[in-house]
Amino acid sequence: MLADDAAKGDGKNAIVVVDYGMGNLRSAWQALVHVANGRTVLVSADPAVVSTAERVVFPGQGAMPDCMREIEARGLRSAVLEAARNKPFLGICIGQQMLFEHSEEGDVPGLGVIAGKVRRFPAEYMVDAAGNRLKVPHMGWNQIRQAREHPLWKGIANGTRFYFVHSYFVAPTNDACVVGSTDYGLPFTSAVAQDNIFAIQCHPEKSALAGLAMLANFVAWKP
């Protein structure tokens, strides 16, 4: 159970972590509290709280079809879409994937905020340079090549390692939104940005100092 103060308040001036009942949001909440400099961080499943948030974190764990179903069931779709239009918005892992138009996982549509698809690591590419088989899920610390400058990369060296756990990755239609890529059998897009949105495949909340730096950058971000 989350500490009581994670669920209190109406969202005004708060950083709100969207809770749609999938996976563990405590880690994301804890890490944000750690970098929020006393700002309020809430975990909420209430569309009204998401709507009044100052900025929104959209996490995700598990399978994308389940995540999409829960967002619909809890009436969160329009609040999330609205936040993605006009607030500083951070998508994490499945929260990044759901911003896209379609996923191969369960053959389901996403929220369609960013043009492109979500693909599974193709079996034929899952071999490293030495000929060893690469396992899926892609689990552990891998490097992100920063494709261009972005306020969320501030103070984070190009090629820094972050913690990943996933079997699917995003394939944007337009390269313009790509801000980071990672190699695992093939190069894949590991971070995207579009206006007020930054979304990343890895788990900054579990990526030690580099992850905390990124979350602190998000808290300070004025897109």
């Binding site: 996976g23 405590r26 552990g140 891998n142």
Partner: protein
Amino acid sequence: MGLAKRIIPCLDVTAGRVVKGTNFVDLRDAGDPVEIARRYDEQGADEVTFLDITASSDQRDIILHIVEACAAQVFIPLTVGGGVRSVADVRRLLNAGADKVSMNTAAVENPDLIAEASAKVGNQCIVVAIDAKQSAPGVWQVFTHGGRRNTGIDAIAWARRVQQLGAGEILLTSMDRDGTRNGFDLPLTRAVSDAVDLPVIASGGVGNLEHLAAGVSEGRADAVLAASIFHFGEYTVHQAKAYLHTRGIEVRL
């Protein structure tokens, strides 16, 4: 550029205290799992594992408080195992702040638990711990109840089965090597790693840094777990990584 091999210190915890303690000279409390986890995080550990070996059931909830405190201070993945018997146990640990939950005896007694838990919380959260002991050359059997009971189940077949059931990772411990400091059982590690598509964590027997390197290169493990070489200050996690790096193994430095 690629995925780094992980180094994972493991702490045995009973009733909220680290068993045998550690001898970091400058720790305020050598028995405090949270303080030790924080120290390993500072040294560059890629994850931390808590194995709860609390015997008495009325003290079992203590681990939840430890996990909560750890999650508030340590921002790397935390795996918790020991005494996990139901999906409710898995959920309680995840809600307290664990990132992955490891199950062993309960998974053997009720394999459906793996499928059920993985469907509920996602396979990335479910680690199946396999304690294996050699019974003939190239043959290993699965032991449960902390290594006391032989199930007669073939370890390689069991590894394949837990993958089918939805495990996200395998924590493989050699009962023959555990505590010996003679190095991992490399043929076992390699046989299991080659048999499954899941990441395999090698465990049991690490006595020096070369053992860690061999676990990765010859055992083909995706991660290596060790306890005593780190607890007693023989090596820091950073030294272990620096060594693997000199051996051409990709690590997060």
